[in-house]
Symmetry: C2
Subunit: 135 residues, 2 copies
DNA sequence: CTGGGTGCAAAGTATTTGCATGAAC
DNA sequence: GTTCATGCAAATACTTTGCACCCAG
């Protein structure tokens, strides 16, 4: 279990026990939505407020400590910031996996064709994971 | 102005004036969120209810007459169903453009590497459109 | 200490539901 | 005629805000 105190402070966030637990939970689950995060944090802090979760998620997003991932037909999930990557979502079990792809070619071709200056690519593959294919 | 009566019926949706106007509005705007759609429809049907908008958007999604597009940091927008394509979003003016890309290579490589059976790809480029670059 | 975070309650916003009426087919 | 859509009002769900108290730095 990593200690995220310094990481939080680097992002101008005080390292409170609630925030450390959010960081640990994101680290161990990979991706999680607000409601699940709240349920998990309640086990450790039985009086934690949903407002605290929202306030922290919002300020962590503003300070780029975490990122939001928008999944088709689902509530947004959140993950710790890391190098750019894409996502795979299983439509059967809901599992979310990260995958690092080289999209530089796609990006530059698209920039040329559209005259957009491209800063970011959000890419989500939906399908059926290996485990669910065999069920 | 296309007539969407038959298209609606093909998707098992009765062709009401409200639905026809939703279809026309989506066609002319390309992409639109719930609130803007409501404001536009109110000009034609001054007593239209927001509940009607929500009910129609939901049933049109279920019947695949329209698709939802999730844009980073924005409310979802909706578009008429058409062949698979990706989106470009301008972070400055909010403009959304369609682009058709051949992602078959990317898709098959990813399927091989992850053992996912991939059904759908949601791809959004964020950046600055040509117009906003010159301002 | 001091600024900022927490928890609670309340407010605000977004979305869905139930039902009576009315329109599509 | 029957089925389903509409509009209204109410209910529910989701998210933010204000404030008193408390903790991290």
């Amino acid at each position: 279990m990593n200690n995220y105190s310094n990481a939080l402070r680097k992002h101008h966030l005080k390292a409170t026990p609630q925030r450390l637990e959010i960081a640990n939970t994101l680290a161990s689950y990979g991706h999680i939505n607000i409601d699940n995060l709240y349920e998990i944090l309640r086990k450790k802090f039985n009086s934690i407020s949903l407002a605290t979760i929202y306030k922290n998620i919002n300020i962590m997003l503003e300070n780029s400590f975490i990122q939001e991932v928008k999944i088709p037909h689902e509530k947004s999930v959140y993950e710790l910031s890391k190098e750019a990557h894409s996502h795979l979502v299983c439509d059967k079990c809901g599992a979310i996996e990260d995958i690092t792809l080289d999209l530089s070619q796609l990006s530059s071709t698209t920039a040329t064709n559209t005259h957009f200056k491209i800063d970011k690519i959000d890419l989500v593959f939906s399908g059926i994971c290996q485990k669910c294919q065999t069920l």
